[in-house]
């Protein structure tokens, strides 16, 4: 039994090592970047769900929020959806404080969003703008690009505040 256990271990170890060596010659060559770069860079980006930490891109005072509920969508929130979030990190004197439960609109998502003409858009990060229950933004400025999917979701005020429409 010890012999079979040892053989199973060695088999598992060999398959693991085989997997590692198959996946990335980059695993051993890239040293200054993250080592798991070339394998994990093809990750499948999915929805924004509970426990997702997002960046806040307005001047409401919060810096990072964690999603506690995706208000629309069974699997999670996508670009343009509203979520309920808890503020994890905030500027010292801002309109919202750490620990507050707020609503937010997703303005940038790493998951590609398809448009009706066959194009797709995706961003490099996940970002939100804090809003109140009616959907009006709390802050007065929005940083970074926003997609024009927000117009269809009736978040016109955010679009007017935005500096750049992707």
């Amino acid at each position: 039994m010890a012999a079979t256990f040892a053989s199973r271990c060695s088999r598992v170890g060999r398959s693991l090592f085989g997997g590692l060596s198959n996946n990335s010659p980059g695993l051993f060559t890239t040293s200054h970047e993250m080592t798991c770069n070339s394998y994990f860079s093809q990750q499948q980006r999915t929805f924004i769900q509970m426990r997702t930490v997002l960046k806040v891109v307005d001047n409401s005072g919060a810096k990072k929020v964690m999603c506690i509920r995706a208000l629309a969508g069974k699997k999670g929130a996508r670009l343009g959806d509203m979520i309920q979030a808890s503020v994890k990190e905030a500027h010292p004197n801002g309109k919202v404080k750490k620990g507050a439960v707020v609503f937010a609109v997703v303005v940038r998502a790493a998951m590609p969003k398809g448009r009706c003409d066959g194009s797709e858009v995706k961003f490099d990060d996940n970002a939100v703008v804090l809003v109140d229950k009616q959907g009006q933004p709390i802050g007065t400025r929005v940083f970074g690009p926003v997609p024009h999917e927000l117009r269809q979701k009736k978040h016109v005020k955010i679009l007017t505040l935005a500096g750049h429409i992707a």
Partner: protein, 229 residues
């Protein structure tokens, strides 16, 4: 009389593919060969044997008159003129006249479209139709392009997208390119179907030498490699 009818019956289904004719003719020939039948049946079997082989035009020295008279029909029915060659001359002239009447009434054969080619042909037609409205330049990975897009929601003016092509996926009419750019501090990648009627203009501004077909590594590199004024 009866022999002529039989030979006409053999010639009229010339339109069907030679393999089918071969089969029927070979089975008739086999049935005839077993019995002791007059010269006409053996001439049938002799005539039908070149159908089994490749239908190439064979000119014989003994039937020169038949070859010359059959030359105008050679492009439509090479196998018919093959048959005409081997027939003894007396019968050959009678059969040739009836055969030529039968052939000239039939229209020239159209090239058949195979089932597997249909989608390719449809894609080519759709691309040709889109090219009439707007020509699409040859886009390759590493090109720095500027795209003017009309968005139905944003009807007022054309949106301009600039960036580097990081991949091109070929799928006929839905051939897409993925364009990457750093906008206002954040990287944005947009997939454009290049033959879309919404795209009003695609222009290649510059080209960067790359050694990959898909530049997915740009996501992990410094933002300045994806920044374009």
């Amino acid at each position: 009389m009866a022999s002529q009818v039989l030979l006409q019956a053999l010639f009229s289904p010339i339109q069907c593919p030679p393999s089918k004719l071969c089969f029927t003719s070979s089975c008739t020939a086999s049935t005839f060969g077993s019995r002791n039948l007059p010269l006409i049946s053996t001439s049938i079997s002799r005539r039908c044997s070149p159908l089994i082989a490749k239908p190439s035009f064979v000119v014989r020295a003994d039937s020169n008159s038949d070859a010359v008279s059959a030359s105008d029909n050679v492009d439509e029915n090479p196998e018919a003129s093959d048959n005409v060659d081997e027939v003894p001359e007396t019968e050959g002239e009678q059969i040739l006249d009836s055969a030529s009447e039968v052939e000239e009434s039939k229209p020239p054969r159209q090239t058949r479209v195979k089932l597997g080619d249909v989608m390719g042909i449809l894609h080519k037609r759709a691309i040709a139709a889109s090219d009439e409205v707007r020509t699409t330049p040859d886009l390759r990975t590493g090109d720095i392009v500027e795209i003017r897009l009309e968005v139905p929601e944003n009807k007022r003016r054309l949106s301009i997208y600039k960036g580097i092509v990081i991949s091109r996926q070929n799928a006929g009419i839905h051939t897409t390119i993925r364009v990457r750019r750093i906008i206002a501090g954040t990287g944005v990648e947009i997939v454009f179907p290049i033959y879309s009627p919404n795209i009003k203009e695609i222009k290649v501004v510059k080209h960067r030498k790359v050694r990959q077909a898909r530049l997915y590594y740009l996501k992990d590199k410094l933002p300045r490699f994806s920044t374009f004024k």
